[in-house]
């Protein structure tokens, strides 16, 4: 293994949901320093995801400039629990700083409904973890549509976004839907000059975990075959969480060249490793 990309977990993803913007900003910096001294300096194969507190996007951009020059920091992680969809202009200082520092933006589900974030589903708060966990793609889809239709990739033509750990089976139909809506309604967002799928192909990548488990495992191979290209996918383990995917087993039905792409080639290209 030549590289492993670390991403924090719920306590870091929740930094941007704290009520106090100054405390959140300080905590993000402290976490980033800890990440560098504890992990990144431990092994040069480890690459890190820094955090930035979205409550104060100007301060977040300063933090991205500060930490972003570290050669092993390769992306800024955001939780999908947020107060508004990420395509909105409030967040632009963060995207601008990410682009300036050649860092990707990684959006990770899991903080919906927590602290000051919006409820986990548009239908309200589910009673059980199983409902919440089933529904986490909802907020991710809203962020993706927002990024595309607000024209974020037109404003920031070098911005790269990775959707982490939100599953894969929904991607193809969702992108079809964005394309279809665009044909009818593009006049509302005239800055979206190309089909949404083209922005996705160019700017967005998705990580694999959790891979869906249809009764007929070939259906998963087929639905991934419906993506414009397997280049959109990068392996993620979610280790050490309870629902992680075992790399030795999860992609075994895929042809070898597709496995190679998903396990390393796509990430190599996306992160310029």
């Amino acid at each position: 293994m030549s590289h492993a990309i670390l991403i924090g977990e719920s306590s870091q993803l929740n930094i941007s949901n704290m009520v106090n913007a100054d405390a959140a900003t300080a905590l993000a910096s402290a976490y980033n320093d800890w990440l560098v001294t504890t992990w990144l300096s431990f092994d040069s194969r480890l690459l890190g995801s820094a955090f930035a507190a979205t409550q104060d996007p100007i301060a977040a951009a300063r933090e991205i400039d500060r930490i972003g020059s570290h050669p092993q920091i390769i992306q800024i992680a955001l939780g999908s629990g947020a107060r508004m969809p990420y395509g909105q202009r409030f967040f632009y200082p963060i995207f601008e700083a990410a682009e300036r520092n050649n860092l990707a933006i990684a959006i990770h589900p899991f903080t919906e409904g927590s602290l000051i974030a919006n409820p986990p589903t548009a239908a309200g708060y589910p009673s059980h973890y199983i409902e919440y966990h089933t529904c986490i793609t909802g907020s991710i889809q809203a962020h993706l549509a927002s990024l595309v239709f607000e024209g974020v990739f037109e404003r920031f033509p070098r911005l790269r976004v990775v959707i982490v750990e939100a599953g894969v089976a929904w991607i193809a139909p969702f992108v079809w839907r964005m394309d279809r809506e665009w044909k009818s309604l593009r006049i509302e967002v005239p800055w979206v000059k190309r089909r949404p799928s083209e922005y996705v192909n160019e700017h967005v990548r998705f990580t694999t975990q959790p891979l869906d488990e249809p009764d007929n495992p070939d259906h998963l191979v087929q639905i991934i075959g419906m993506l414009s290209s397997p280049e959109l996918l990068m392996f993620s383990s979610d280790y050490p969480h309870w629902d992680f995917d075992n790399p030795e087993r999860v992609l075994e039905r895929f042809p070898d060249d597709v496995q190679d792409q998903i396990f390393f080639e796509n990430a190599q290209r996306f992160y310029q490793l």
């Binding site: 309870w242 629902d243 992680f244 995917d245 075992n246 030795e248 087993r249 999860v250």
Partner: protein, 117 residues
């Protein structure tokens, strides 16, 4: 060809406990469930976790909405990875009986346990 493998003394495997042994280079978990003995291969049929290291306990039985009924105390093994539940006595996954972990027969002779494999 099947043969017998000595697991140990009956009194050393108390009810509610397990022991993981090596048989022909494979790991097998031997369980004492309320005085009866069962053996399961230590590989989860889902994604290959060391299943037999999971928690032994009860489950919540299928019930009416809003009702919680604990049952099958000591008969349920929960995979340490994705938490699938298995019936120790049959090796079958509780929610899908087509999914099963390989089981082995355990016999008791002269106070000793033997695995047939």
């Amino acid at each position: 060809m099947t043969s017998e493998w000595e697991v140990g003394r009956v009194e050393d495997l108390k009810p509610g406990t397990r022991r993981i042994i090596n048989v022909k280079g494979r790991q097998v978990g031997v369980f004492n469930v309320a005085g009866r003995f069962y053996a399961l291969r230590n590989i989860c049929p889902h994604q290959g976790a060391p299943l037999c290291e999971g928690e032994i306990g009860s489950t919540l039985l299928p019930s009416r909405p809003g009702e919680y009924v604990v049952g099958r105390e000591g008969e349920v093994l929960r995979c340490p990875w994705h938490q699938w539940e298995f019936d120790i006595t049959s090796g079958r996954c509780l929610v899908d009986s087509r999914v099963r972990v390989k089981t082995f027969e355990v016999v008791v002779r002269d106070g000793h346990l033997f695995l047939i494999a």
